[in-house]
Every structure is written in structure tokens, then in C-alpha cells.
Symmetry: C2
Subunit: 184 residues, 2 copies
Amino acid sequence: MQPILVTFAAVPDGPWRIADVKAVTGDGLARAPALAITEGCAIQDPPASSWVLRGITSNVRYTTRSELDALSAAQEGLGRPQATRAALIPIRKSPAWWALAQEERRAIMEEQSRHIKIGMEYLPAVARRLHHCRDLLEPFDFITWFEYAPDQANAFEELVGRLRETEEWRYVEREIDVRLVRRG
Amino acid sequence: MQPILVTFAAVPDGPWRIADVKAVTGDGLARAPALAITEGCAIQDPPASSWVLRGITSNVRYTTRSELDALSAAQEGLGRPQATRAALIPIRKSPAWWALAQEERRAIMEEQSRHIKIGMEYLPAVARRLHHCRDLLEPFDFITWFEYAPDQANAFEELVGRLRETEEWRYVEREIDVRLVRRG
């Protein structure tokens, strides 16, 4: 349960081929051939990286006990053999979001936007891991990493489409959508 | 409202003289003559530091809107001329704390332990700033910095004494209490 520092680096060659990089909101990121993912304290950036993003797996910030139990029962881990498609979605929220009190953010995120509830509808097909970056003084506040099988690609599009229509997403001021395919 | 990285370094000489270093729970920290505080990205540790602790001022994690408004109305900032006494209190909580859901931590901290409510009773005499460290992979989870006038020293002892008797403090597995006096 200790936080893990995870580094996502755009590299010339790596286990995940970058299929697409789309700037959803705000400035984009450069195209690159592949993504390298390192867990643990990276002493230095991988050589020849065109960009490097860092995040920390941390304690839950909004999730209630009943939601945690439901998620734990339904979700599957990363690294499933059939999950050869992935998405790396870094997001930055606005100063107005961060100035809200805790229960105001929770109310927008879940009671209004149903963020956790929507994500649950796509379990176990879409596995995910959330990384926090704001307190690392990174350019993004969160990086979410998703993994799914090719036949779940339409379901995944529906999931991100539904989230982007929520009240919560009105506080998103920068979002990039990087899609990846695992090398066979 | 952007997070600020704050570095607390034990140094041979500095604006705050270290009067006492007490290990309240778990391993202590070495005595040192003085403390230097740096805000912003510290490229490297100050020379001759015997220890360096880092934290980030971040968004609130538990505070409600009504509590935020009451705190804003009552509290005063750091750096008041009469506030020549300070305390630096780094704390680490147990894995059991961090495994709790959001509303379970909030219930222990406030509904059971009255952490925010107790702190409010000592406003504006005791000014404070909270720094988060867990996601920086530091040895502590939080560092709180307190400033008060010499004639508020007894009130401050009462404040920390009351907090240490709460249910929340049963999750504290390491705590150091460093007391400081501002050089004239």
C-alpha cells in the first residue's frame, strides 16, 4: 500500500507502441514511437525521451468504503494477456477545482457526475490505475492508465465519452489521450 | 493556490534556532543548531544539513466548505512579528490509516477526534501551515509548522496535548516535535 512512483517516458522503442496522441483540451504532447513505464524511483530520465510524465499511486481521495469494496470485487489487475490495448490519459484540472472544499469536489465528481459509478459499468473489461501528479509539481494533476482487450475498444470509447460529458469535466483544462498497442 | 514545495533543513546557522527536538513516537531526528526553510524547487540540499524534510502545501483533503470559511475568517498568516516561537511537527501514519476509505478517515479525524474543531479554538493565536509529504516518498506523511507568541506557549502545549489524546493519533506511528525560537 506504499505509494509507488511511476514514470511514463516517450521513447524510440519499448513494449507499448504509441498508436495515437490526441490533444483533447489544451496543449498536446509530441508524437513518439513507444512508451516505457518504470515503477520505483527513477534516478534519471530514460535516454532519448521526448517527454516524461510522473505520477504516484496513492491512497484514495474520494472513494467510500462501499465503493471501495464494490471496486475490489469487480476489478481486475493490469497485465492481463488479452489486454493488448491501452490508453494513457493525463489531465490537469483548473484552479477553481482545487480551491473547492473536499465535499464540494466529491459532490461534483460522484453525486453529480457519477465518475466512480460509470467506471464500474466497464469492469472488469477495462482495468485502470490512477496516478497523482499535482503534488509532484508536474504539468498534469492525474495520469490514468487503462488496459483492455481489442474487442473492448468500443466500450472504452463509450466510457471516456461519457466521462467527458460530465459536470466534473468542466473543470478539466488540459487533457491528452494517448493510445497504445502492446508489442506481441 | 498552486502547491509550493517547502524544504526544512537542519543547518549550523539560520533564522530559527532549534531549542528542542523530541521523539514523541518512533525514531527521532538529530539535534542541530538551526533550521532553514526554503520555498520553491530546491535544486539541492543546503550545505552541511544534518537532515532535510520536504513537503508540499496542497489542496484540502478533509475540510468542508463551512469549516474552510470559518478557518479563513479566524486564522492569521505566518510571519507575524510577535510570533517568535515555532514548532515543526513531522508525523507518519500507519498503513492501516492509509488503507481506510475517504469517509472513514474523515470520520476518525473530525467526527470522532475533532481535529479541525480543536485547532480552531487556538486561532488566531497559533498560526499553522500543513505540508503533505507521503506522495513525495518522504519518511513522514505530513509536516505541520506552527507559529505563536511566547505568551501563547502554554496554550500551544494544551493544543498538541489534546490532539495526541485523540482516536486519530492512534494511527500515528512516528512523530517528532521540534521547537524553535526566532533569532532577534
